[in-house]
């Protein structure tokens, strides 16, 4: 019965593979654009506009960041929301739900020196690593528009610092833990900050996320518009960073709650 079922699945899978590979092999040469050709529609139409105008219009040297945060900033807003949402769903699914213990859990607090991770050397070294990671994270955040980097990476790095702080020290010196709910609130605040950045131009006669109309510029010279774009991109990157950080911490805490490393 069981074998029969899996064989059926196998057959179905094979059919899919055959069809997909077959079509791919037969047809692929003909209709997809040649890789590396600069004249394909994909590489020439809108893409060229971004390359030629991004620096002029958004003052962001990293064109991908310009596309991501400015031209298609609306996508990124919801990308951030997806992350927030995944943290939310993880929390809804796992938080507060009793884990069914399979074996008696060892009481870690009593057993002072046998914590799974850590040990003295790690305790010492992570103190050096964490500040570096934090600084690097902030660097990545602010440097995102000139070079590679951006809010997502920065958020991940900062959360990484927290992660080290959370899991490396042995239990006895475990320091302040950010509660799951707090982390979620931080994440939602980050995303909300993004939304606020988008809403601000609406008070100044602009559209949603129209950074050129951010109500900060005192003069309306062309230069200041470009600066406004910079400010806008920076603000949303900050929002993204905070959100990503919150999301990772929230997921981490929810999972940690249910994990014992002895297993």
């Amino acid at each position: 019965m069981k074998e029969n079922k899996s064989r059926k699945k196998l057959a179905a899978g094979l059919i899919i593979v055959i069809i997909a590979v077959g079509t791919a092999a037969v047809k692929i040469g003909a209709f997809l654009p040649t890789i590396g050709d600069a004249d394909t529609p994909a590489n020439s139409y809108v893409a060229n506009y971004y390359i030629t105008n991004a620096v002029k219009e958004t003052h962001s040297y990293n064109i991908v960041t310009a596309v991501l945060a400015d031209y298609r900033g609306f996508d990124t807003l919801f990308e951030t929301c997806v992350l927030f949402l995944s943290a939310l769903v993880t929390m809804m699914v796992l938080f507060g739900k009793e884990k069914v213990p399979k074996m008696p859990v060892k009481n870690l607090a009593e057993d002072k020196y046998s914590a799974a991770f850590g040990g003295d050397i790690m305790d010492a070294s992570f103190r050096i690593v964490v500040p570096i990671i934090l600084i690097y994270g902030i660097y990545v955040l602010f440097h995102g528009e000139i070079s590679l980097g951006g809010g997502f990476q920065a958020g991940a790095l900062i959360a990484c610092a927290y992660l080290l702080d959370r899991i490396i020290p042995s239990i006895r010196m475990g320091r302040g833990k950010i509660k799951e709910e707090t982390a979620l609130i931080i994440a939602s605040m980050g995303a909300f900050f993004y939304v606020i950045t988008g809403i601000l131009p609406m008070f100044n006669g602009g559209n949603f996320l129209e950074f050129a109309k951010l109500p900060f510029g005192s003069s309306l010279a062309a230069e200041s518009i470009v600066k406004l774009h910079t400010a806008g991109i920076l603000m949303i990157e900050v929002g993204v960073t905070v959100c990503v950080m919150g999301v990772i911490i929230a997921i981490l805490e929810v999972v940690l709650e249910r994990t014992d490393f002895d297993e």
Partner: protein, 130 residues
């Protein structure tokens, strides 16, 4: 032998990578259907998403193009590879991350409830029929 490799290289550089990505896609879908273990299914799902990302990135490629980070105001279109697929795929990566995260959380919950993540054992004991 070297001739063969050269041919292969040419083929891959021309259009072959599409084929590889699509094969990856097909293998992933096959895995999602055929694997009985939910964790493996999830990994196949991730593979599938990655294959799509590769697919997008391949046609954003330009011969002789560099990273789309403007250098010294060089703004001719040929100099940089297409930034749009990269931007789109950043979004897609994050989305796939979110999906995978949710999937993992669900798996943990399923493990709690059923004590297993093998499909046969879950559907076997009355999972499917009401």
């Amino acid at each position: 032998m070297s001739e063969l490799i050269e041919k292969l290289e040419f083929f891959l550089a021309d259009r072959g990578i599409y084929m590889l990505t699509l094969i990856l896609f097909a293998v992933a879908v096959y895995g999602m259907i055929a694997c009985g273990n939910y964790m493996k299914k999830l990994m196949c799902m991730n593979m599938m998403q990655v294959s799509i990302i590769f697919f997008f990135l391949t046609f954003g490629q330009k011969n002789g193009g560099t990273l789309p980070v403007a250098i010294d105001e060089v703004l001719s279109a040929e100099a940089y590879i297409n930034p749009l697929p990269h931007a789109l795929m950043l979004t897609a990566i994050v989305v796939s991350l979110g999906t995978t995260g949710v999937g993992l959380a669900l798996l943990m919950r399923i493990k709690d409830i059923y004590g297993t993540i093998e499909e046969d054992r879950i559907t076997g004991d009355g999972g499917k029929k009401q």
